[in-house]
Amino acid sequence: EPEVTQTPSHQVTQMGQEVILRCVPISNHLYFYWYRQILGQKVEFLVSFYNNEISEKSEIFDDQFSVERPDGSNFTLKIRSTKLEDSAMYFCASIPTGGGSPLHFGNGTRLTVT
C-alpha cells in the first residue's frame, strides 16, 4: 500500500538555525498538510496546500514557516529560525481529493531544538 514518507525521522538543531523537513506524499494525492504534535499534547494543524499554493494556515504558521513543493514528489516544511518551542513531532499528510477522505499520515519527524 502506498505510504507517505518523511525524512529525517529525527532532527536535532540549535536555536536560530534553519531546518527543512521533507515529505513525499502518495503519488496521486492532491492535497497536502503539515501538522505538529508537541510531546504529550494534541495534534495541531499548521498548513494545507493545494494546487501549488497554501489553502489555509493556522496562527502557529507564522512568517518563520514556509512550505514548498519543489518538484512533483516532495513537499517540504521550512522553519527559518528555530525556537526551543518548535520542538515537536511534525507530521505530513495527504489526501487524493478535497472532501470526505481520511488523511494518510507519515510517521513524522521528531524535531529537537537545543
Binding site: 507517505v4 498538510y33 494534541k42 494545507s48 513531532m89 507530521f91 470526505g100 488523511l103 507519515g106
Partner: protein
C-alpha cells in the same frame, strides 16, 4: 474552540474487555474521524462517519455519532494488548477548505 475533546484522557483495561472512548465537539461538522497513534509513530485512520450517519462498524470497532449532542463514541470490543495506543477523534467542519481538527486523545492501555 471547535476541536473535538475526548474522554477519558486515559483508560486502562484487561485484555478481552471492551473499551469505550468519547468525543465531543462544538460546531456542526461534515464528518468525524477516529485515528490511532502508537507511541512515537504517525496517525493511522480507523474509521470515518459522516454527519448524516449514526453508527458505523469496522471489524471490532463501532463508532456512533449523535449530532444533536455533538458527540461520538468509539467502542473497541474484545480488546487485545496490541490495541494499546492513543486514540484521537478529528472533525471536519463546513467550509471551503478540508482540514481536520484533532482532540487531545485517549491513551488506551490494554493489559494482558
Amino acid at each position: 474552540s471547535q476541536q473535538g475533546e475526548e474522554d477519558p484522557q486515559a483508560l486502562s483495561i484487561q485484555e478481552g474487555e471492551n473499551a469505550t472512548m468519547n468525543c465531543s465537539y462544538k460546531t456542526s461538522i461534515n464528518n468525524l474521524q477516529w485515528y490511532r497513534q502508537n507511541s512515537g509513530r504517525g496517525l493511522v485512520h480507523l474509521i470515518l462517519i459522516r454527519s448524516n450517519e449514526r453508527e458505523k462498524h469496522s471489524g471490532r470497532l463501532r463508532v456512533t455519532l449523535d449530532t444533536s449532542k455533538k458527540s461520538s463514541s468509539l467502542l473497541i470490543t474484545a480488546s487485545r494488548a496490541a490495541d494499546t495506543a492513543s486514540y484521537f477523534c478529528a472533525t471536519v467542519f463546513g467550509g471551503s477548505n478540508y482540514k481536520l481538527t484533532f482532540g487531545k486523545g485517549t491513551l488506551l492501555t490494554v493489559n494482558p
